[in-house]
Amino acid sequence: MPDLLDKRLVFVTGKGGVGKSTLAISLGLAGAARGKRTIVCEVASQENASRVFKKGEVGFHEVEVADNLWAISIDPDESLREYLLLQLKVRAMRDLLVRSRIFNYLAAATPGLKELVTIGKIWELAQPDRKVKKASGYDLVIVDAPATGHGIGFLSTPRTFADIARVGPIHSQAKELDRFITDHETTGVTIVAIPEEMPVNESAHLERELTEKVGMSVDRVYMNALYPERFSSDEAGKLERALDDSEGAAKAAIRAALSEYRRANSQRDQLERLKQAVSTPVKALPFIFKPTLDVEELRWLSGAAG
């Protein structure tokens, strides 16, 4: 199986708040650094990429944010319009449909349609031969996917849709999307965790669901934001003893060191738990002691992650 970044399409998933967006952008930078024309897709209009690269909001446009790196925020309504135009080929017919009240109620009512057209757009971006007129192809498409609960629903949409619409063009297109995202040669998935109880549990759960329910192969699990082991247990003992004799800033500093020691330790336990709980190789990424993560930090992280 090809290496993660040698696939065409990579989904970055995980529990909320674990740094999926940061990792998606870092992987994007890593791909771009290998000379691949890369695009990072957001699906919940977070505009993280534009913030990091200090660009205006990208919206539903492919915008170059760094060398070889593009970003897009996929809006389901825009995706649906684009899809309809590609299907119907006649703009007037598309507009007739989109303007119709009934069509809009229907589109809003059909469960999973938003997710389906979003994945459709992702698929379109990942085609060597783009469907959208005059659009250039990408070597690598990275998706900052929704958090766990929504993520599984999101990625299984094509499969579910193919079941609901048993025949007709939507059925065959949903099947094609499902085939594409479950093809281990072209599409990869990574799960991001942080060294805490719930994210570790959810990662194991997510790996199982992605494999069994969606039929994807998980390529890699990242343990993000792992504290460094700055102090040994001997040193922690010395710090404990020095705590009582200290005062003021020295006391606060020793206390901070002991906290770091305890956190680093409990995080190592979580790292072990994660390794036990998943069947995919785990790659650890260090916690970055910076108030905010800017391009510089993400470039550094892209080296460690890629």
Partner: protein
């Protein structure tokens, strides 16, 4: 700044809202435990607690109905339990099924709905149905009137609107005018929208195939008798949410992005005229009052530790202080945006919270005054 007891005084419902991964479940459980220990009969409705947390509350299998947490567990942890703590885990699908059961005019309609493909998708996956079912369950338990206080932990919505729009979106869907269209597909062209739509239907059929349209049509027909009941109930759920006895607590983390989300969420709650009690910021790195430069800290440590260790302790301290300063800046920004409305800071504890003792630890911060919190944090209780 105030303590949480002040915010909850005289209320009957607290709803913990916020984006994923900020500690909502833990906060909800800690709030409920604190209120129960102080003498109320409290139920906490959680979404998906850490297994170890559920285990440590003695709730091996959390069900879709509240179960009582054994009071002796609290006494074992050195806390007097003067009230009762009940806990349940929301099962959105089961709640939806119950709702259908309750509103269906007869058994045949009920079964038709429960087995419909579209229904099965909606009750599982329609964006917002988990959010709505959380509120629905809250309403149901509130109706029964068996508790003094209810704490609702909300699903990790991608954004505030997912949560707040849920009742509206769901009723819109169920009562959707599209339904009427489906019920009389033949009379459609002339009656409802004129010529355009029959062509539209043709186009649609070409895109979707007939099956999908048939399933939708069947679903809407089966649901048609229940629309009124559903709509009425959704209205009452909305009323409960905006009742003055309800309070929303926004939960967030101290980093830039979660803070911005909390500001946004707070604004949306205010715009929706929902009662907001305050914001709880979890995992805060407290600033140390002593503001010595790194070099000086190292000097002070010099007498206590060998040089090389002292250097590393000072370095770690500088890193920690940088995070503490960031957190303080972000929380100032939050307090300004909220017009100094109540912000409660819970420190970043040394251990991940997943047991009763951890909850009680958090509790001490939630129910402390701001001065007590500073003192607790400075004494290294965290």
């Amino acid at each position: 700044m105030a303590d949480v007891a002040e915010i909850l005084e005289g209320r009957g419902i607290a709803i913990c809202a916020g984006s994923g991964g900020v500690g909502k479940t833990t906060t909800s459980a800690a709030l409920a435990a604190g209120l129960a220990a102080r003498g109320q009969k409290v139920a906490v409705l959680t979404i998906d607690p850490a297994k170890r947390l559920a285990d440590s509350l003695g709730l091996k299998e959390l069900e879709n109905e509240p179960r009582q947490v054994d009071p002796s567990l609290f006494e074992g942890a050195g806390v007097e339990m003067r009230g009762e703590l009940w806990a349940m885990m929301l099962d959105a699908k089961a709640t939806f099924d119950d709702l259908v059961q309750k509103h269906a005019p007869d058994a045949e309609t009920r079964d038709r709905i429960l087995q419909n493909q579209i229904y099965r998708q909606i009750s599982n996956a329609l964006a917002g149905s988990q959010e709505y079912m959380a509120m629905e369950k809250l309403f149901e338990i509130h109706q029964e009137g068996r508790y003094d206080f209810l704490v609702l932990d909300t699903p990790p919505s991608r954004n505030a609107l997912d949560f707040l729009d849920a009742p509206k979106r769901l009723t819109q869907f169920i009562e959707g005018r599209s339904m009427q269209v489906f019920m009389k597909p033949t009379g459609l062209a002339t009656k409802v929208v004129g010529r355009g739509s029959s062509m539209m239907f043709g186009v649609l059929k070409r895109l979707t195939g007939l099956d999908l349209l048939t399933d939708l049509s069947e679903f809407f027909q089966a649901f048609s008798g229940m629309v009124e009941g559903f709509t009425e109930r959704a209205k009452r759920v909305s009323e409960l949410l905006s009742d003055p006895a309800t309070t929303f607590l926004v939960v967030c983390g101290p980093q830039g992005e979660p803070i911005e989300e909390a500001v946004y969420f707070h604004r949306k709650l205010v715009e929706a005229k929902l009662p907001v009690g305050g914001v709880i910021v979890n995992r805060v790195h407290y600033e140390t009052e002593a503001d010595l430069e790194g070099g000086e800290v190292e000097d002070e440590l010099g007498g206590l530790l060998e040089d090389e260790l002292a250097r590393r302790v000072a370095e770690n301290f500088a890193d920690y202080q940088a995070l503490a300063q960031r957190d303080a800046r972000n929380i100032d920004h939050l307090a300004r945006e909220l017009n100094a409305k109540r912000v409660i800071r819970v420190p970043y504890l040394d251990e991940d919270v997943h047991d009763l003792e951890g909850l009680l630890e958090i509790n001490r911060y939630l129910f402390a005054t701001e001065e007590q919190r500073e003192a607790l944090a400075a004494s290294g209780a965290g």
